[in-house]
Each structure stands twice: as structure tokens, then as C-alpha cells.
Amino acid sequence: MTAPQTLATAGPDPDLLYSEDEDALRDAVRSLLADRSDPATVLAGLESDVPYDTRLWRSLATDIGTAGLLVPDKLGGQGASAREAAVVLEELGRCAAPVPYLTSAVVAVTALLGCDTADPETATLLGALAGGNTVGVLALPLTTGPGGVAETAVRADAGGALTGRVTSVADAASAEILLVPAEGPDGPALYAVEATADGVRSDTVTPLDLTRPLGHLTFDGAHGRLLATGDRARAAVERALLAGAGLLASEQLGVAEWCLAETVRHTAERTQFGRPIGSFQALKHRMAALWLDVASARAAARNAADALATDSPDAPVAVAVAQAYCAPVAVRAAEECIQLHGGLGMTWEHPAHLFLKRAKSDEIAFGTPGRHRDALAGLVGLSAP
């Protein structure tokens, strides 16, 4: 058996560092989040009826301009790339911020970019999402990863009326525009539906991760505008899922970073047996091992972001590696954070649980680590028995 091409040559060397522009963007996002979305603020807003922090979203998406990073200038965006969006997601991960960045500015935007952007309606939609004025989501379960759209749950008739039900859609309640993959009369198609249109119902779910709301969407003859059909529709959705999975790794990196930093801070201060507990090898070795995992997750996440940004043929491998690696690292970091905080880690008052819930939900989002490893088996020529 021979391995496919991507195995022998991993492509040109990826740039795994951060550029000066990326560092500047990080500074801007971090200082905004420090003001508006510190863990205490996020915690206080958890059980409100508002699905996301609209003021924070406006500052982040519109004022700093992060919603349009993936969109070319001529379509109303910033003309940046997945590398910059990844930096934003690292920062959002560091505070488990309740904003629809990954779903709208990454996944929905990427799906639209895969459609015909010369079409005025598509261009208008992209402009609205890129400006942060409109939130859009791709109507697929949050669990769906690359290669995971087997059969669509929604059917479209020749007039564009959509019928069906999609469960566990992230940020469904925040969205004004729903991008709905559906089985049309001529095969797969992608439709845009107003969230407030007749025949659209959104039922909120009580999520494990309160910072990323979920909803079940029911379409009962709702009118959709056709965006793409056939292979183009399928490729647009696939590319959106690849971008979502790949850049989720950067969010997971941010989650893990916060957990490690917070754990180090706490164990260096907390005194038992007459010593800071962080001086005991049993604890410091766990944190040192976690540090190595986080440093490694950074390389994996940067590699995925760079592969997406450069449209590398290696992107499917880079994304699968990043998800298979970063998802468990974020979960372990959050679990260690809870354990090394002792009783404090079990309280609602301490924000550690926000990161545990985010990390565990992220592990399932866009394909579990096991599904990404299965995908790799095919990509790199290591077939199952």
C-alpha cells in the first residue's frame, strides 16, 4: 500500500510564529476582553436571557473589525486570513467569551465565500456578516466535522421551501441569518433563510457550556434563497467545517492557556503544610507536563491556521492533527485546573468551571478527536484492520 502525496511532502514549511500585525491584533482584542469580558463578568451574565453579549460583540466584531478578517476588502472585509482569525479565537478562548465569533465570522463566512460572491445577494450577506452587523450561522449540528455531512436533515422543494429539523446548532438563537444545507430537487444545495421568517422555529436547549448557546431549528415550509447547488454547495459546506475545526484548535489553545496560568497562580499562593502547594513535586510535575502540552498545542494550532490561510493541500491533515491533539489538551488543562484548585474548583463562584464546560463541549464540536484520527488514517495511509 502506498501513502498519499500529502504524507511524503508536508508542503512548504508552515510559518508557526506570530507576525507583528498578529501580535498587534492580539493586543487590541485582549485589552477589549480584559475590560468587558473578564471571567467574573462572563460568570455574572451566564444565566441571563440574552444569548450573547451584544455590546461586546459590537466592539469586537465591528469596532475592531474582527468579523471581516476572512473576507476580502472588495467584499467589505479586512482581507486578512485564518492566521489572524486564529489569534482572535485564542483570546476568546482565554476568557470563554460568549460571542458568536467561530460560528458567524469563521464558519458562516467561509461557507458564503465558497458560494458565488459575484452574486449580489451573496455579496450583500457577506458584507453584513463581515461588518459584524448581522450574525449568521451554518445550520448543522455543532458535532458535525469535516466529512461528516452524510445526509442532510432538511429538504427543499423547487420553490425553495425548506422542511426538516436540525438539532444542536450553536448560536442558533443569536443568528439573524441561517445558512441551511438542504437536499434540493437537483441534489445538495445551500440556502439562506431569515431566522425570523415564517416557518422557522428555534427551540433553545440547556447547554453544558452556557457560554455557547445551542438551539434546535425546525423548518416548516420556510422560504430559502438559493446560494449554491451541487458540488459547489457541498464544497462550500465542507470548507466551512474544515475552517471551523481548524480554528477551533486555537480557541482550545486559549482555553488551555488560561487554565494553566490560573492553576500556576493559585498553587503558588495557596499554602498548606507550611509551604505553597505549587512547591510540591506531585503538583509541579503535573503543571510542567501541561505546559509542554500547551506549547505543543500552539504548534499544532498554528500549523492548522497557516495551512488554512495558505490554502495548502495539506490542510485536511493539519486540521485533523490539530483537532486530535488540541481538544484533549484543553480538556486535560481544565480538569487539572479544577483538581489543583481543590474545593475552590468545585464552586460556581470560581470561573474554572466555565473553561471545563467550554473545553468538554469543544471536544465534541466539529468532530471528536477519535473521528479526526479516523480521518487521518485515510489521509496518511494507515488503514484500519
Partner: protein, 412 residues
Amino acid sequence: MPTDAADLRRRTAELLAAHPPTRLPPPQNEGPAGQHLSSDTEPLDFLRARFDAGLAWIHFPEGLGGLDAPRALQAVVDAELEAAGAPGNNPGRIGIGLGMAAPTILRFGTDEQKRRFLRPLWTGEEVWCQLFSEPGAGSDLAALATRAVRDGGGDWIVDGQKVWTSGAHQARWAILIARTDPDLPKHRGISYFVCDMTDPGVDVRPLRQITGEAEFNEVFLTGVRIPDAHRLGEIGEGWRVAQTTLMNERVAIGGARMPREGGMIGVAAADWRAHPELRTHDLHQRLLKLWVDAEVARLTGERLRQQLTMGQPGPEGSGMKLAFARLAQEISGWEVEFLAEDGLTYDDWTLRRPEGVDFTGREAGYRYLRAKGNSIEGGTSEVLLNIVAERVLGLPPEPRTDKDVAWKDLPR
């Protein structure tokens, strides 16, 4: 004089024109005594000329094999020389000299020591070894008991036992740390020397290891005489000098560049592809996890290299050795298990004296056993975790009861 890539290419071309190297089919780097044809420059003469042209290690000072140039540009010189088929100095054979002795001599040596030692070290004419670890001083290296006492003539007389010394049986020189003042606390009574391995008081014995071979030696030192001119750094400053050596050791261990599926994971993946009859679901799942871990370790190393090239060294270096050790052990363990009946066999238990570790040239059982040393040699994984926790994360140190006690009063 500014040195840039163009300047280095010009200098390299001049060297090649003045000393046309023998063209040999690769791999030809068997060391300075390797095969060659008589018409062109002898490999050793070429290496000497390269050193004198400042193209050996360009970040070293002028006159000592370098040009005071940025280290990142070394790759320019190496690529030109490789393309021309020039002989190399076989870094695998002289790694301790290049990676540990040389940076220490450069930083702490006198001008005379630098002139005497660095050129034959780099060309491979003189092999170096390292006399640091002792039976009673492993992770707690500063507790070492080898004594160096000054005689009436000012020479040092050294007595003691060192262990895990690779290359001692081939070495002309050793870097040695020994206790010069037992009345001081352990870190403060140590001095650093260059030891002549041909001294009649040096007795080198092979140390057979769990693989059956003997990469390493025990070295017994009895009345070994070292002139004071061969001391590196001040008397009592040996611990500080040794830190330079040890930091370079860890960088060297974690630093090699790899392609995807380079190293042991490539062997395991090839095994999997070649033997469909041995595949099980459990082994498949574990192989895919290891493949991901190996690919991420490769990327982490690549990121570290990019940081070094950009002049922003990160602390990932100390972590890379941890990751490498764990991966090597897990992958080789997987491989022995996967091979089933072949995993029950071993290629060769003969006591041999290999020049280095050949992880991919031997069979799975060897890899499995040799990899056990990866988490012990050059700082155990436990000590490295302490270093990461205290120096990178800034966690408080363990209480140290032996820090301010005279070495002679410590329990042993």
C-alpha cells in the same frame, strides 16, 4: 566587515576553489579518516582549511573557526558545501566535543586554551568525552565526590570514579568536574578541568547496558595529573561553568529537524503498512494517537527552530527532550507488541561498542530497550519537569536542606 549570505557564498566558493574536495557518492562522511581519492584535497586538509577560513561554525569568533556571523546563516555555508560534495566532520562521532566542550571552552577558556583545543576538536582529529556523572552523583550532580588536590608544583591530582561516559575509549580529551574544596557547600567547591585521557591514571572500562552493547564507559581516575593551565574558569566556579555545558547538551538532544514520519514513527507506520495480517483495532487506535503526537512534536520542534532563527529563543527546548523521550518509549513499545512473534526475538546481544545510537538501523527490540535511556540520560524527565516548573512557570522551589551545608558533612 558585514557578513551576509552573499558574502558567505563568496567565501565558500573561494574555499572550494583553493581546496577542491574529492567528490564521493553519499553517504561519505565517515570522519576525517574516511575514504578518499588521492588527486584532490585530503578530507582532513579540507576540514582544516575550512576552519581557517572561518566557515566551520560561523558564529564563533574570527581566528577560531568562525566569522562572528549570525548562527542562522550557517545553513547557507552548509548547503553550498554539501552541494559541492565537500567532506564533513561527522558530527555524530564528535558530538560531545561540538555540542558541549566547544561552547564551554569558548565561553570560559583562556586565549591559549581556545587556540589549542578548538581546531582539532572541530576537525575531529581529537575526540572529546565528558566526565561528569558518578555512581553517587546522578540527578544530584553537584554532590560529586571525585577529588582534585593541588600538589607542590601547582598541578592537580585527581582521584575518583565517573560513569556513563560515552566515547571515553576513543577520546583524546575530557571535560571533567571535580571537588577542589570539600569544606564548602556542594555547589561552591567544584572546579572544571580539561583532562588528558592518555594519562596513565585513566582506566576506561566498557559499561554493558540493557541492550547488550556498551555505548558508555566507567572511567576510574587514579592519581591523574592535570596542569593548572588546563583548568576552565576560576577555582570553585566549576558548577557555573558546567551549567553552560549542560544547557548545550539539552539543546543538542532536542534539536534535530525531522520530516513528517521521520524517526521512529516512520518505522512503526512502515510496519503497519507492510503487515496487514498483524493489525488489530486496538493497535490501530494507539498507532493513530502516536502518529498525531509524533507529528505535533515535530511541529513543536519546527516552531522552536523558527523562533531561534528569528532570534526569539523560547523555553520549549527543555520541553522537547521530555516529549521525545516519552514518544520514543511509547512508539517502540507499540512496535514490539505489533510485531507479535517477531517481537519475541532480538537481533543481537553481542557486546559491541557502537559509535552512537542508531534508532532506525536496528530492530524493534533494540529500539524499545535503548529508548528507556531517553528519559534518564542528559537529565531525567523528573528533573526536567522540575526545571520547567521552576524556571519556566516560576513555581516555588522544593525546600533544599543540603544547600548551605559543607559537602563533607552531607549524608552519603
